[in-house]
């Protein structure tokens, strides 16, 4: 332990970053490798499949746009789940909070009607955040006061939320006509597509700007990731959140209210999931209907797992899942490989992340032995 200190500290920092990032990357590559075998065994050409998958997700500015489009809600739900995990809480009900966020954004947007975007957009996002938090608040309170397990309660609240939205779009909020959906939001209440920010001339000169359906929501998601990272790293709120997640008894002894921290953590988790609902409504569908989320809240769990609950790690993890789902259609269309294979690959990613934990456990144990003998 007598080596120059500075060197070892810097070295160690790089080692930890490599270790943290390296293993999920290996997991993803292993998943693709095993996925290839499955594609091959099913009688398709894996090379063609992945070529098409890549083409559909990164092959053109429009494809990149699709990937960003699909990644946007996943970043937010991934953050929601990750933040809860950092407090030792499993918010399995991000999906329900997402529905309530979408509902609140729509309700406020429809109420405001045609006005300026700088009035409606912030108000809608705020409403979505509050709604998501409110939907997480009751399970949080039940957890803090009587110890009701959040996995059960947030899940149940997901059903309540989804059916509530279903009722509203079939009843009180239904647009005249046969389709169970609300009226469309005024353009001022929408998150515009990124491409529309640039003039036609600019887009012709720089084709990369033709990002297709990608909308401003991606910036909301990226800002949220940075904010959550800053909260966890630099604020007492984040410090207490992590402390409770690791050891609630030591936290309690140090004067941290475990109950209050639990409530805050689940509500912040709900805020993020609610935002995901808002960006979907405001950026993609421009109205609310029955099934506007294809399980983003649940995929968020996988994203958080792959990101190892690191808020910045959520971004690449969500991009991977977003790319897989964006490229799936092209893969089916061009390589004739059924879309469902994508779900298998997603599952394999999770599997290898979990398996990697087992390997790391051994690595850590050895390191621990070494250091404890040094002391």
């Amino acid at each position: 332990m007598s080596e120059p200190r500075e060197g070892t500290v810097v070295q160690r920092r790089w080692m930890t970053i490599l270790q943290k990032a390296g293993t999920p990357v290996i997991s993803a590559l292993l998943a693709i490798a095993v996925g290839s075998i499955i594609i091959w065994a099913s009688g398709y050409d894996p090379l063609a499949a992945f070529a098409a998958l890549f083409k559909g997700s990164f092959g053109s500015p429009k494809a990149v746009g699709d990937t960003l489009l699909k990644s946007t809600p996943l970043i937010l739900t991934g953050l929601a789940v990750a933040y809860g995990f950092r407090a030792g809480l499993f918010n399995i009900g991000a999906e329900g909070q997402l529905f309530m966020g979408g509902l609140a954004a729509t309700a406020v947007g429809l109420a405001l009607g045609a006005t300026s975007w700088w009035i409606s957009v912030p108000l809608m996002l705020l409403a979505a955040m509050l709604a998501g938090a409110a939907w997480a608040f009751i399970p949080a309170l039940l957890k803090a006061r009587i110890g009701a397990h959040e996995v059960i309660t947030t899940m149940m609240f997901t059903y309540i939320g989804r059916y509530f939205v279903s009722y509203l779009v079939n009843g009180p909020m239904k647009e005249p006509g046969n389709i169970p959906q609300t009226p469309a939001l005024d353009p001022s209440a929408q998150l515009p597509r990124i491409a529309t920010l640039f003039s036609e001339g600019a887009r012709e000169a720089l084709p990369i700007l033709n990002l297709g359906r990608a909308h401003m929501g991606i910036f909301v998601a990226l800002i949220a990731a940075v904010v959550i990272w800053l909260i966890l790293k630099y604020t007492t709120l984040g410090f207490e959140n992590r402390a409770v997640g690791f050891n609630r008894w030591a936290s309690e002894t140090a004067g941290i209210s475990v109950q209050w921290t639990t409530v805050k953590a689940l509500c912040i988790s709900g805020v993020l999931a609610g935002l995901a609902g808002a960006t979907e409504v405001m950026g993609v569908h421009h109205r609310l209907f029955d099934q506007f989320s294809s399980g983003f809240g649940f995929t968020g769990i996988a994203v958080a797992l792959l990101a190892k609950n690191h808020p910045l790690g959520v971004i690449p993890a969500a991009l991977l899942f977003g790319a897989l789902s964006a490229g799936a259609t092209t893969m089916q269309f061009e390589a004739k490989v059924p879309q469902d294979i994508i779900q298998i690959i997603q599952a394999l990613v999770i599997f290898f992340v979990a398996a990697e934990e087992i390997v790391l456990w051994f690595v850590r144990r050895r390191q621990k032995e070494a250091i404890s003998h040094a002391g």
Binding site: M1, A254, I256, H373, G375
Partner: protein
């Protein structure tokens, strides 16, 4: 011929030599104590012998034959058994099931439970290790679980039994029973390696002592050739003050005043039944008692972790009866919890984060909810230097430190906060003599600085060497207060086990204690 012999066994971890050419032998029918500080390499060398770790050099000989130990399975086949500090038993299964696990009698995959039970009973009678073969592990006390571990090793045919810190989790009574068991084992021809850092145990039970320090064997002796001071010197490498000298107490203002406190325990019974006492500035008041007589609940209610049902707690003029842990810390109460892993530290946090825990929302470490990593790191650097926490840097995780260094970390945080009142619950549990000396010096330094110290300990030696006044707690009450001069091990032991209670009651004496009110 030695049953077990080590020749120049070396074990290297990345960056650390854990065992440096360790050589010693174990004779048949011998109790060999392996003595050393935490982190001296005792457990490592025995894990090498047991095949849990591979060696990086040297030879291991069993009955004179060199062996290449690859796995515990191989070690077991060669007649080596090991009982680890943390038991490896399956709680929902019975004693018999645990013992025969892996070597179940029976055929075609059908276990002959009757035969298994008979064998366990036979074994238990032969070695005098009484245990109920049908009891579930989860229902057994720790001492009993340890017996099951020993029986398991014997069932597997151990001739050499390695016990890794076997007394760390036991009560004094259980320790005596364990020693009797060990003696009966060697009478039956077994050989025992006993890993420990406790001097009195070494003197009490061993035939021969190997002392290790920093991964090397630094000495060999016999109990009759040495005493605890000599052993401590060998172990730490310098003279150790086993009993700290202290100037007489200069009692100042009353800092802590507990009045008629009643506290419920976890099982819904009253754990603290009307306790009153005071602690003044510059004084160490010790609470002595057998574990489970309400000490934990008393402390938890003073620091705000447990709500008292009635009574009051005052810190100087402030009523902190219902303050809760946060306000209690902010009012000036520091608390070294009895269980550092559970309540003392966040093992997944680094050293700096652990050192700021509890003060993390206060200036200068945080302002308006924003933490100041630089200020925190500077404070942490200073603390680890002041309190001699041995670590390569403050960004090492607390869980990666040795037990002694972890405890120093807790002590550094709680004393470094400069509290008005320091509550130390079993502050030296599981520490070696060097670290114990350190903690004792720090506690007395607090006293010298004019702070009030409330010490709770199960170790009489610790109480006798630190306390100015001793409160003996029995069944939730303070049954006796003794001054430092009056207190000796015998008197304390008498009151701790309920002695004198009848007399007090008969005389109509209400044992309400207090310094100067």
């Amino acid at each position: 011929m030695a049953v077990l012999e080590l020749r120049d066994v070396t074990k290297v971890f990345p960056g650390v030599v854990a065992n440096d050419r360790v050589s010693f032998s174990l004779e048949k029918g011998e109790i060999l104590a392996l003595l050393g500080e935490n982190g001296a390499g005792k457990s490592t060398i025995m894990n090498v012998v047991y095949g849990l770790l591979s060696s990086d050099g040297g030879e291991i000989l069993i009955d004179g034959e060199p062996v290449n130990m690859r796995s515990p399975r191989q070690a077991i086949d060669l007649g080596i058994g090991m009982v680890h500090q943390h038991f490896m038993l399956i709680e929902p299964l019975t004693v018999t099931e645990n013992i025969v696990l892996g070597r179940e009698p029976g055929r075609l995959g059908v276990i002959d439970f009757a035969l298994a039970r008979t064998r366990v009973v036979e074994l238990s009678e032969r070695y005098g290790l009484k245990v109920d073969p049908d009891a579930k592990i989860a229902d057994l006390a720790v001492g009993m679980q340890q017996r099951v571990e020993i029986l398991k090793a014997l069932y597997q045919g151990a001739r050499v039994l390695i016990l890794d810190e076997p007394t760390a989790v036991l009560t004094p009574q259980e320790v005596r029973e364990l020693f009797a068991v060990i003696r009966s084992l060697v009478d039956e021809g077994l050989s025992v390696v006993f890993i420990t850092h406790k001097l009195e145990e070494v003197m009490a039970v061993s035939d021969r002592i190997i002392v290790m320090r920093a991964g090397r064997v630094v000495g060999e002796t016999r109990p009759e050739e040495t005493d605890d001071v000599g052993l401590a010197r060998m172990m730490v490498g310098r003279d150790v003050v086993l009993r700290v000298e202290k100037p007489p107490s200069t009692c100042g203002d009353t800092v802590l005043a507990v009045k008629d406190l009643h506290v419920m325990g976890d099982r819904g019974l009253e754990a603290v039944a009307g306790v009153s006492f005071t602690v003044c500035a510059g004084e160490v008041v010790a609470v002595a008692g057998v574990s489970g007589n309400g000490q934990t609940e008393l402390i938890e209610s003073i620091v705000g972790l447990r709500k008292p049902t009635s009574g009051t707690v005052h810190l100087k003029d402030i009523d902190i009866t219902h303050a809760g842990p946060r306000k209690s810390i902010e009012a000036g109460v520091s608390h070294i919890p009895e269980d550092r892993h559970r309540r003392g530290l966040v093992l997944q946090f680094d050293i700096a984060e652990n050192l700021v825990l509890g003060d993390h929302r206060l200036p200068p470490y945080a302002k308006n909810g924003i933490m100041k990593p630089k200020v925190i790191a500077e404070m942490a650097e200073k603390r680890i230097a002041d309190y001699d926490v041995r670590t390569p840097s403050v960004s090492v995780l607390a869980g990666n430190l040795s037990g002694g260094n972890q405890q120093k970390l807790v002590v550094a945080r709680e004393i470094g906060r400069e509290p008005m009142l320091l509550i130390a619950a079993q502050p030296t549990r599981g520490l070696d003599v060097g670290a114990i000396e350190f903690v004792h010096r720090e506690v007395l330094a607090e006293r010298a600085r004019g702070r009030a110290v409330l010490l709770v300990s199960l170790e009489l030696e610790e109480i006798l060497s630190l306390a100015d006044r001793v409160l003996v707690m029995y069944e939730g009450r303070i049954v006796r207060e003794l001054s430092a001069e009056e207190a000796d091990a015998e008197t304390l032991g008498y009151y701790m086990t309920g002695g004198g209670g009848d007399k007090l009651a008969a005389d109509g004496v209400v044992p309400v204690m207090g310094g100067q009110q």
